[in-house]
Subunit: 276 residues, 4 copies
């Protein structure tokens, strides 16, 4: 298992070409946020925006548009329960992040099915939170898009079907092969499973143990995946920098809230593109 | 009456263990905020979040979800008038804070009754503001949860049934015994009554005399109680640090608004965990 | 005409007594903000809150509660079209500010009439913006409360009935006598008319020529009037400090937006209470 | 093609006269923001406000009032679907910015038609985003107001009817003559076409390639056009300073979000008015 190190990640951050335009940095769709959990999708989309995604659209419950635009006038909004419009919107995207605050009721299931069935081979799909549960419970077919699952340990049990004490490097790799996906297994020291190798995040600290942290990471993963040279570089950089920002903030903060972390993303990205 | 001193409180702030997760730091439910007073429950929940609570859910009037999520996408929302869902939600919580902006009409009474009847022995319940009035006026039974009352002087008269000039250390202790609760008596120099001892807060200043300050304190009490080694350490630390932050801010601010105080909580907590 | 000088104002800021509570610093009601102009009453109430008012309630159009609480969870809300509740609320107040964004349609007129008829001799009433127009157009009786009018030059013509070129110190004084009110005449160098003397504000600069500045001043006047030793000291300090903050900000800002000014109020107040 | 240089722009920023009032700095109406894209018109209006516009009103979909006032209580709101009120409001304005987030459905077309037909010769009209498409698709008559088009390259093709590779300096000038308008052609190094000359913006960097950047620029153009000595000075200064702020922010930020840029406008304007 390789360790994710700062000197490696520093080299992954792409230097933007002159005369690039927003379309070069990813059109991303975020799907989630029901009537109770609109904050989750807001955090996720906000992380993506601050991480450089070119154009961010959020499909969520209508009640969430007010807070979303109060925090981020930069994003566009869509009623996620309007499945036809959702379906029409998907083909224009480079990637989709589904799950944060999505809920698991029948309406949420319909949304997930629509997204899973509509995505294409050229797109990537980050599957987080409730979307993982729906994928398993509804026995959905593997979508044709490139998949990135971001389960925490409990969700990984569900997704892999392993027993409580079975989780281990090799078993995880086997399961990843069956899933045919990148798997970001979130725990104390998160592990990232690719087809050919496994990486471990040794950054991070317990000030991050607070609600919304996973939603934030999922947003960063989506944003970096759309922008970076390879999927691998994008996912690894997101996992590392998310923790690294929390490490820096934790020098002065007992708890490092997601909204604080999000504001720091553009700064650490910039710092990493400067030569040392 | 013991005085709450900074050197004592510094030792109470727990150092978080590596590999902890958000569930370790408390699942808290905030109940309050009617159509007029949604800001009160927002302040309370925000204080709890910044004070390190692992997972914060707010049950409030539907109108309040917009401002709540605009300020704090990290929290989850619940319609407090949906009593069945409220009842279903309570068992998964470590503690509940009820009262800020709750109101006293019949719908508020129904909510308070639901919460008081549903809590269990393993949970703690912070009873603040309007929930104190409802508890007295409706002659509610003592709930089985551990109770923490946070009355200001006027509410204490109501709660204790004492006459205007009767309030005094021993009488307060007697009444606390009857209530079988921790009592945080908010006044110029707040007093905290436990079963075995009484503490006095000598921190604080008149810049704190502004609306929403009590809601903020109730949130900190809930958050610290869920995280600290003992109930006593949690409550005393909340009372002291709330005032201590106001003391620091008052060096540059004539009035120290709750929203300003809340932003400082993670910083003072961090400072206190560092060796001097 | 006396000039308002910094050394005078510094002595007006009251030093808060230990063991004071929020009731000592004024219960204020703000009435205004229709469907189009909700921002005006939000600015006014926000200025009052930051200027130290103990308890702020805003009566406004229902649509405005979201933005109000997103910006200021510290305040309470009331539907201003619910005249019965408005009437019930007024007696518990120390002062009322009416006018910012109120509008002039028949519903706004009904609100103004309700407020003007309900206030009592012990209260003060700041009449700003649209409430000035309604007072004149509807020929309302002089309310029994202490009146403070805050007209700009155009509104002063309406209020005084003077012709376009008639405005002059003595005429203004005469008219003030008839109005039996304190008059803050807002212009380049604002003038404040009391029963016994006239003061001129020589602070201020053209970076303040932006929307919402008058609403902000009205809020500061209400807040200071409730807290300061005399009405005169409160009104003069508000007029001066509002401009003085803009002067300080204008060293680094081409335009000094009301929201920026408001954040600085508690800091300048604190600075002025420190010995030089 | 002249290059826009900092030393030139510094001389364009007007020094505000003492005793000016908000009416001197432009009454501006912003029209746009449907149910999905309310953030776009919020950004545009916010840029105008921070760039010194005296009085800003936003006509938008009703759903957007909450986020708008949560971010900017300084502006007034109007339901853009209420065409009669929209029509009544226009004559009192100095200039109108139409297009950001407007949408292109039949209701949006009706709004655009109303604005185009109601503006007068004394007013200027900035036509951005969807309003450009509607202007072309609906073959609208050239309004009598002074026109400023702000197309990106794709919109310019539509507006000029040129083929994909035809765009070139002289052709652009010809087309500008036919349009009888100032044209701000947004691209890597934006070009500004006036009747008598063409300017090129050499400021800017790829951190600006993010959603909402064009909306922000349109707002600055509207604001400066209303305030500056000539249309030319206003438009050129907006184009340059928008990029220049992004250049400064990009020293510490990988992506320079519009909301960050907007906050800096009053500071750079102030800096430029100071002698070097």
């Amino acid at each position: 298992m390789k360790k994710i190190l700062e000197e490696t990640i520093r080299q992954f951050i792409p230097v933007r070409e002159e005369n690039s335009y927003k379309g070069n940095f990813g059109r991303l769709l975020f799907v989630g946020g029901n009537d109770q959990m609109g904050g989750a999708i807001t955090l996720s989309a906000s992380a993506a925006l601050h991480a450089g995604a070119g154009l961010v659209t959020v499909a969520s419950a209508p009640v969430n548009v007010h807070a979303l635009h109060a925090r981020m006038p930069e994003v566009m909004f869509l009623d996620m329960y309007d499945l036809d419009t959702l379906k029409d919107m998907i083909p224009s995207m480079d990637g989709i992040v589904i799950g944060p605050g999505l809920g698991r009721d029948s309406k949420s299931v319909d949304i997930a099915k629509t997204v899973f069935e509509t995505v294409s081979e050229e797109q990537f799909l980050v599957v987080d939170g409730d979307a993982i549960s729906i994928y398993v419970n509804e026995k959905l077919d593997h979508p044709v898009a490139e998949l990135i699952f971001t389960p925490h340990l409990g969700e990984w049990k569900t997704l892999s079907g392993m027993g409580p004490d079975e989780e281990a490097l090799e078993k995880n790799q086997e399961k990843r092969d069956q899933l045919d996906a990148i798997v970001v297994l979130k725990k104390g020291q998160s592990e990232v499973y690719f087809e050919d190798e496994v990486w471990q995040n040794i950054s991070g600290n317990p000030s991050m143990a607070t609600g919304g942290m996973g939603d934030t990471l999922a947003g960063m993963i989506g944003s970096f995946t759309a922008q970076f040279k390879t999927r691998k570089e994008g996912v690894l950089s997101a996992v590392f920098m998310h923790s690294q920002i929390a490490n820096q903030l934790s020098e002065t903060h007992y708890v490092t809230l997601p909204t604080l972390i999000i504001d720091e993303i553009p700064k650490l990205m910039k710092e990493y593109t400067k030569s040392i």
